[in-house]
Each structure stands twice: as structure tokens, then as C-alpha cells.
């Protein structure tokens, strides 16, 4: 039987509006259950995606051996790289032990170090399966190298629904376009409304961010009548066909979301409605604006916000790594520190999971003298908020930061852990498609219990 239909029927029985209730509650009513026997620790996710891939030891994983062996290629530093690479290249930044936890944070993140070291849960041993941007971006988003399965945000939207039916459950922000586009946030075989809604926030007017947001010629009454007509005709069409087609239903639902978005989005996406002091705290860079926008969206019930740092892949520092990284770090430090403080002040940090990382990391060996190549063997991400230990470092990479060695965390484990934090058992959140049950973690995935608070 088609899950969407039974869910729909259930929602009808419960008298609830579509979109208000996620699958979790609906399935519980049915007797099935993908929720583990504990209260979800996070209700929403903000994923700060450093597209291109940052180098962990520049930030939260000191590697003094890089200096000791500078220019050399000792055993362990000769892993396969995508392009030709030379000897080890030290990361020149000073580390300080910060907060009560004494978590080492580099000078590149002064604000984050001062205010939030004790909130950071550093994952030092993530690894992925492909050294190229396209496949690695897909892996980080959907656990495979192909665009034929749903993205993590789509799974979360499917599992938990949205807390605000006037806004999409899953929004993707980027002041431009990452090198892979809508396949990174697609819903694949899940109902189409779970796909991420892409918004380019490089201009701040909601009417520019969201094309055709306003109807300038129709009165609200006329538009509502027109919408009712379209819905009635589409339902006739669906009924006459007598089968279930998620696309036809998805389009009927998306039409209603779009109508309501005209009003709710004009507010939610308008960061100029924030006090000037708040705008200044975030800074007014693209990334600062994106962080503030992400906060406004999750505050209003959007379940999953993914913020790509920039157009194409700004973190892809094959040349002039240090020079570029200094600029990038200076651009993200204050906005991220403000985002965490702002969430904390609103009492939302405890149930908002903030995730930071790229699609992979970078090599400790140099490329072309001053660059760093792609590194899938081991890289760093961090989380904060919603149910993770703060001031904590999980796993470790080798002495050069090249390869994950202790508690290595493949992408499926990362996904399993994120779902767990959201109160979802990754083995039970499935969708039947093409003759089998699919899930985000395929036939793998272990929850990293060590990082749970």
C-alpha cells in the first residue's frame, strides 16, 4: 500500500490539517513507530554547508606534526590524492584552550572560541567515499553518489513534517549556486513537497528572493476563488484517473503552500524587519544575512534549513589556501557565533541542531606549494545545540589530519546520528519504492552514542 495514502487517510481521521502533522505522529497512531524510546533532542536543523571543503586542522583539530615534518612526506602522509600533491604543509594558526572544557580552537574563530567553545561537539573523524565534489556533495546530502534517492532534508521533512504549513519544511539558501544544483536537495521518490525550496538570498527583498511572490493584479478574493477552482478541477482529474499519483497530489498541495507563502514568506524571508542592532550582530555579509534568515525560518517552523556558504565552491582552496582560508574564516566567525548566541537567547539552541562542515576536507599535504587538495579520507565537522555534548571532540584523525583513525564516522553514521537526535530511528524511517524499503542510511549506519548529551 502506498504510505502517502494511508497517511492521508489517517490525517483525515485525526481531523488534522495536512502539513501540521508529520509522519511520526501519523505512524504512531497506526501502530508503526520509527521513534526511539526517548524524547527527541532536536526539533529542527540548520546545516551550514562550507561548499568546497574546509581543512579541519585550521580550526578545531591541532596538528603540531605538520610543522615538524613540514615539506616532507613521511609514512602516513602518502595517501592517494585527487591531484598531484607534495610534502606536508603546516597550518599556521595558534590554538587556545577555550571555555570550561578547554576545547582547542584556533585563532581563526575568535568569536566562536570566546562564546561557544563549550557548545561545540567536534567530529574529527568523518570520512566519505569519493574525492570529487559532485559525488561527495551527493553523499553528504543523501548517502549515495547518485541523485536518485531523497536528500536528508527531504527525509526529515517526510518524517517530521513542518511546524508551519505556510512555509516549506525544507529551505535551501545560497547566495548563488553550489556546483551541483537541485539534485542536492531533491525528494526523489518521496512525495515532492519534501524537496528543498532553493532560495538565492544575495538580494534581500523577499520579492526578489522568491520570484512571483506577489500577485499585483488580482484581489485576494479573486485569487482565492481561482485557487479553489483549480483545486476542484485537479481533484476531478485525479478522481477520474482512479489511481494514486504522488505528482498530481503533490502539485495540488504545492499550489496551496504557494498561496499561503505569499503572505507568510513576505514576513519570514524579510530580514530587514529585524532590529538594526540584530542585523549588525550578524554582520551584513551574504553569510551573515543567511544565518539570520535561517534563524527567522526555523523560528517560524521550518524544519530543515541548509545554508550553502557561497556560489560554486568558495572553500575549494587548491591555490593560496591560507590566504583564502583567513578571509573565509573571518567571514563566518561572527555570524556563526551570533547565530548560536541568538538561538540560545531565544531558548532555541537546546532543540536546534546546528551542523557545520563541507562535503569533504582538505589534504595536509600541499598542492602546488600553497594549496590543499580534496581529502575524503578523514575530515572535520562540528555540531552544536540540540542534544549533542558541548566542548567535546569525538574521534580523531591521524597525526597529520589526513585520515580518520579513532571512531571513524562514515556518512551513514553521521546521518543515523542526526536522525536519532531528531527522534527518528534511521532503520525504521523507510519508504517503499521499486520493490523494496529505502532509507537514508541504506543498509548501514550506526548512531554515535558518544556524542549525545
Amino acid at each position: 500500500m502506498n504510505t502517502e495514502i494511508s497517511r492521508r487517510a489517517l490525517l483525515g481521521q485525526m481531523g488534522a490539517g495536512l502539513g501540521m502533522v508529520g509522519l511520526a505522529q501519523a505512524l504512531q497512531a497506526e501502530g508503526a513507530n520509527f521513534a526511539p524510546p526517548f524524547t527527541p533532542r532536536a526539533k529542527r536543523v540548520i546545516h551550514l554547508f562550507m561548499n568546497g571543503g574546509p581543512f579541519g586542522p585550521d580550526f578545531l583539530d591541532p596538528k603540531p606534526a605538520l610543522k615538524k615534518y613540514a615539506g616532507q612526506r613521511p609514512e602516513g602522509a602518502d595517501l592517494r590524492t585527487e591531484r598531484p600533491t607534495g610534502g606536508l604543509m603546516p597550518s599556521p594558526y595558534q590554538y587556545t584552550h577555550c571555555g570550561k572544557s578547554g576545547l582547542p580552537v584556533s585563532e581563526l574563530l575568535p568569536n566562536l572560541a570566546r562564546k561557544h567553545a563549550d557548545h561545540l561537539c567536534v567530529l574529527r573523524s568523518v570520512y566519505t567515499d569519493n574525492p570529487n565534489h559532485g559525488p561527495a556533495l551527493l553523499l553528504m546530502n543523501n548517502g549515495t553518489m547518485t541523485p536518485r534517492v531523497p536528500s536528508m532534508g527531504a527525509w526529515v521533512s517526510y518524517g517530521l513534517g513542518t511546524e508551519n504549513r505556510n512555509l516549506p519544511a525544507y529551505v535551501v539558501l545560497c547566495p548563488g549556486r553550489p556546483v551541483r544544483f537541485s539534485i542536492l536537495w531533491n525528494s526523489a521518490f518521496l512525495p515532492a513537497k519534501n524537496a528543498g525550496m532553493y532560495v538565492n538570498h544575495s538580494k534581500l527583498d523577499p520579492n526578489t528572493m522568491i520570484p512571483w511572490l506577489k500577485n499585483s493584479r488580482l484581489s485576494n478574493r479573486d485569487q482565492l476563488d481561482q485557487l479553489d477552482l483549480m483545486k476542484a478541477l485537479n481533484q476531478e482529474h485525479l478522481r477520474a484517473r482512479g489511481d494514486s499519483d504522488l505528482r498530481l497530489e503533490g502539485r495540488i498541495e504545492a499550489m496551496e503552500t504557494a498561496y499561503r507563502m505569499q503572505f507568510s514568506a513576505s514576513d519570514a524571508f524579510d530580514i530587514t524587519r529585524e532590529p538594526e542592532t540584530m542585523r549588525e550582530r550578524y554582520g551584513k555579509s551574504h553569510f551573515g544575512n543567511g544565518c539570520l534568515l535561517a534563524r527567522r525560518l526555523v523560528e517560524r517552523g521550518t524544519r530543515f534549513v541548509q545554508l550553502y556558504y557561497g556560489d560554486r565552491q568558495p572553500w575549494d582552496t587548491h591555490r593560496k589556501h591560507d590566504e583564502t582560508t583567513r578571509k573565509l574564516a573571518a567571514d563566518i566567525d561572527q555570524p556563526i557565533a551570533t547565530l548560536l548566541s541568538d538561538l540560545e537567547e531565544r531558548g532555541m539552541l537546546e532543540d536546534t541542531l546546528v551542523i557545520w562542515g563541507g562535503e569533504f576536507g582538505r589534504t595536509p599535504v600541499s598542492e602546488g606549494g600553497n594549496g590543499r587538495d580534496h581529502n575524503p579520507h578523514g575530515f572535520l565537522m562540528w555540531m552544536a545545540g540540540g542534544g549533542v555534548k558541548g566542548g567535546y571532540a569525538h574521534g580523531s584523525s591521524d597525526e597529520f589530519g589526513f585520515k580518520a583513525v579513532e571512531n571513524p564516522m562514515p556518512i551513514h553514521d553521521l546521518h543515523a546520528t542526526i536522525l536519532h537526535l531528531l527522534g527518528i530511528n534511521h532503520e525504521l524511517l523507510t519508504y517503499r519504492y521499486a520493490g523494496r524499503d529505502f532509507r537514508l542510511t541504506d543498509v548501514s549506519g550506526h548512531v554515535a552514542h558518544d556524542i549525545l548529551a
Binding site: 541523485p147 539534485i183 485569487q223 476531478e236
Partner: protein, 160 residues
């Protein structure tokens, strides 16, 4: 059943065709798709790689800087805002309404029948006729609103 969805190009072409304004000339220079006087097939729309056309972008047109073996099919609220508020449907709905007025005059029942024959190659069902009559009776000059709803309907977009 292998139901097919029209991609943005044939969808736009079909709108221009039924509203009676499609320029079917083969070959020639590209024309800006934002130009409201552009009545050429969408195939001839100008593609700027650095600034992709929003209509195409929102409707699953692949990134022109990369290979694309197959288009990803999405259904998003943005596509629906395009349908409800965008200038393309507004203009073609108006053209279609003019054509229908020309051929079916002021008789609402005839207007509805003609619209169904043009768009769907069939007669409307009783229920569909009733919905249409009620809508047209409730709105003075409601014909362009009605034709827009039909151009944006699932039946016009999906082929059984």
C-alpha cells in the same frame, strides 16, 4: 501507467498554441524568454549560462554549465507561484480568453466547451461544466482567470 509531465518548453509551447499565438517558424535567432512579445517556441529561448532564466530554472531546466543525462523532476511551491502570479500564464490566459470570446462569444457554456476542446481534446464532464459555470457567473470578466486555471491545471501539464 506511465504518465508524462510536459517539461517547461512543451508546456509553454502548448500554452501559446492553444491561445492561438504560437510562432512556429523553424530556425533563426534566439529570443529572450522574459520578452512578453516572444511567441516563438521555447526551444529558441536565449540561455545565459551565468544568469539562467528564472522560468526555466524554477521548472527543472538543467544547469547549462554541466552535463545532464536526464532532468530531475520536482514539484515545488515556487513553480506554483510561477503558475499563479507569473507573467507568462497571465499573458497566455488573456490571449486564450480573447480567442474563446472571438469563437464562442458571451455564452459561458460554449466558452467552457471550446476551452476543453482546445486544451484537452474532449468535452467537459458535467461536474467540470458546473464548476466552470459557477466560476464565470461569480466573476465579471472572469474568463482570463478561468483560462489561467486551465493552463495551470494538472490535466494540461500531464499526459496520460
Amino acid at each position: 501507467m506511465n504518465r508524462l509531465r510536459l517539461e517547461i518548453e512543451p508546456w509553454r509551447d502548448a500554452m501559446l498554441k492553444v491561445s492561438g499565438v504560437l510562432d512556429e517558424t523553424v530556425g533563426g535567432k534566439t529570443v529572450d524568454l522574459n520578452d512578453q512579445h516572444n511567441r516563438r517556441r521555447t526551444l529558441y529561448g536565449t540561455i545565459q549560462r551565468r544568469d539562467p532564466n528564472k522560468m526555466l530554472q524554477v521548472n527543472d531546466f538543467p544547469d547549462p554549465t554541466a552535463h545532464c543525462p536526464a532532468r530531475a523532476e520536482t514539484i515545488t511551491p515556487l513553480q506554483m507561484l510561477f503558475t499563479l502570479n507569473g507573467p507568462l500564464l497571465e499573458a497566455q490566459a488573456a490571449n486564450l480568453a480573447r480567442r474563446i470570446l472571438r469563437e464562442a462569444a458571451q455564452d459561458s457554456a460554449r466558452q467552457i466547451t471550446l476551452a476543453y476542446r482546445l486544451l484537452f481534446q474532449r468535452m467537459p464532464t458535467d461536474q467540470e461544466r458546473k464548476l466552470g459555470l459557477r466560476f464565470l457567473a461569480g466573476h465579471e470578466n472572469g474568463l482570463p482567470l478561468y483560462t489561467q486555471a486551465l493552463l495551470g491545471s494538472n490535466e494540461f501539464l500531464y499526459l496520460d
